[in-house]
């Protein structure tokens, strides 16, 4: 397999071990990002500003969970274990999500005095969503045909998520001084981690060489250009270059927040791995 590969199915992918490895590494990033952020979204259930938002947020979390499941299924097809087990039974160090998606929603716990930060939720979902958009668009040209196909389908759903968060961003940006301040604090916090999103991890060279997705720098530039445009239209000042967290989630380094999330979401599954979740 050279540089201009096209891999039609999983059997072909498995014929080249290096290709299969690069594909798996990318799939873990895609799956884990959506899976963990969908989990954080589901933790908002009953806590969103109003009932309509509750419905919308859980609907979007369900979409994202569905996207993660598709990617875990592709990993299962590659022979890396059962999709459900991949989601539920791996240790934190095996996760390849960016740190941004694992951060807690705010102070407190879901069952214990939650003081979640709605402005942070909006900015995190939107900034991640804008990156996901760029990533999915690039995946339309992926050398791995099944990934290109499913990405096209995901894009049709994802555009509605962006429309939703767009409304919230505008609303908060043009609301009271207090709301605006909360939004800016949210942006600052998201910005501390956001720079890691476009990282493709330690196998980045092979992932790009095999034509699975565009290079990090290209993805990053497209994403930042889109985000800058949206901030400008909302009348928000541009926070500059996004930072990267101390831990590198794409390399399997994570904060204690991920451990907490995994313990909670797999609690039921670990008790009875045969039950459907």
């Amino acid at each position: 397999m050279g540089d201009n590969v096209r891999v039609e199915n999983v059997e072909q992918a498995k014929q080249n071990q290096e290709y299969a490895q690069a594909l798996a590494d990318l799939l873990f990033q895609l799956a884990d990002d959506d899976f963990i952020l969908a989990y954080r979204g589901s933790e908002w259930l009953g806590l969103a500003p109003h009932i309509e938002e509750d419905v919308a947020f859980s609907s979007m979390s369900q979409d994202m969970m569905g996207h993660a499941v598709m990617h875990y299924q592709m990993l299962e097809d590659l022979g890396l274990g059962k999709a459900d087990d991949l989601a539920q039974l791996r240790e934190a160090g095996a996760f390849r999500n960016a740190i941004l998606v694992e951060r807690k929603n705010g102070a407190g716990e879901y069952n214990d005095n939650p003081h979640y930060d709605w402005a942070y939720a909006i900015v995190r979902s939107y900034v991640y969503g804008l990156y996901k958009q760029v990533r999915l668009e690039s995946l339309l040209q992926s050398s791995y045909a099944p990934l290109a196909l499913i990405s096209r389908k995901m894009l049709t759903e994802h555009r509605y998520h962006l429309m939703h968060w767009q409304v919230w961003l505008k609303q908060l940006a043009n609301s009271t001084k207090e709301a605006r301040q909360k939004l800016e604090t949210g942006i600052a916090r998201v910005w501390e981690d956001a720079g890691e999103l476009s990282s493709l991890g330690q196998n980045a060279d092979n992932i790009v060489r095999f034509g699975l997705i565009a290079g990090e720098e290209l993805l990053r530039q497209r994403w930042l250009a889109n985000t800058k445009d949206i901030f400008q239209k909302a009348g928000l000042s541009w926070p500059g270059e996004p930072g990267v967290p101390t831990e590198r989630g794409r390399l399997g380094e994570h904060t204690a927040d991920l451990g907490q999330a995994l313990a909670t979401l797999s609690e039921v599954y670990r008790l009875d791995p045969v039950a459907k979740w």
Binding site: E52, V55, M60, Q62, D63, H67, L149, K153, E157, H164
Partner: protein, 167 residues
Amino acid sequence: MTNDKTTQQESQEAICLEMLQDVKDPEIPVISMVEMGMIHKVRVESGVVEVEVLPTFVGCPALDIMKKNISEKLIEVEGISDVQVRFVYDPAWTSDRIALDARDKLKSFGIAPPPLDFKPGDSWDVSCPYCDSVYTQLENLFGPAACRSILYCRHCKNPFEALKPIY
């Protein structure tokens, strides 16, 4: 011999497709999966029927129910010993696949059908399924199911749901 077999296959496939008219989309009980444009292929070989289904949404929680409903329906067909349901994404399901007469059924159920031939950048104008007024407003992009939105008719003052354009 070969011709006979083909005819038998064809008639079994036709029967299966006919039976699938009774399998509804669990989230929209007035419309069958055939009318939704979700049944891509029905193939019978040596008593095994293989059905290819195009999901409307990747994470649709109703997929497992659909699979079960299809299997239970088709196993009743004479000469069928096994049902295999596969979800495929090529071609991708789009809202233009909904049958034309099914669009009217949606309306009678109080759900506005998605616009036809929708293109990126088009504005989504929804007319009220009850009074046809275009004087409507979007209340929530996400309804109880991911594929639907909630709107409000300012003319007849009814809330209603609309299927999102998927293109």
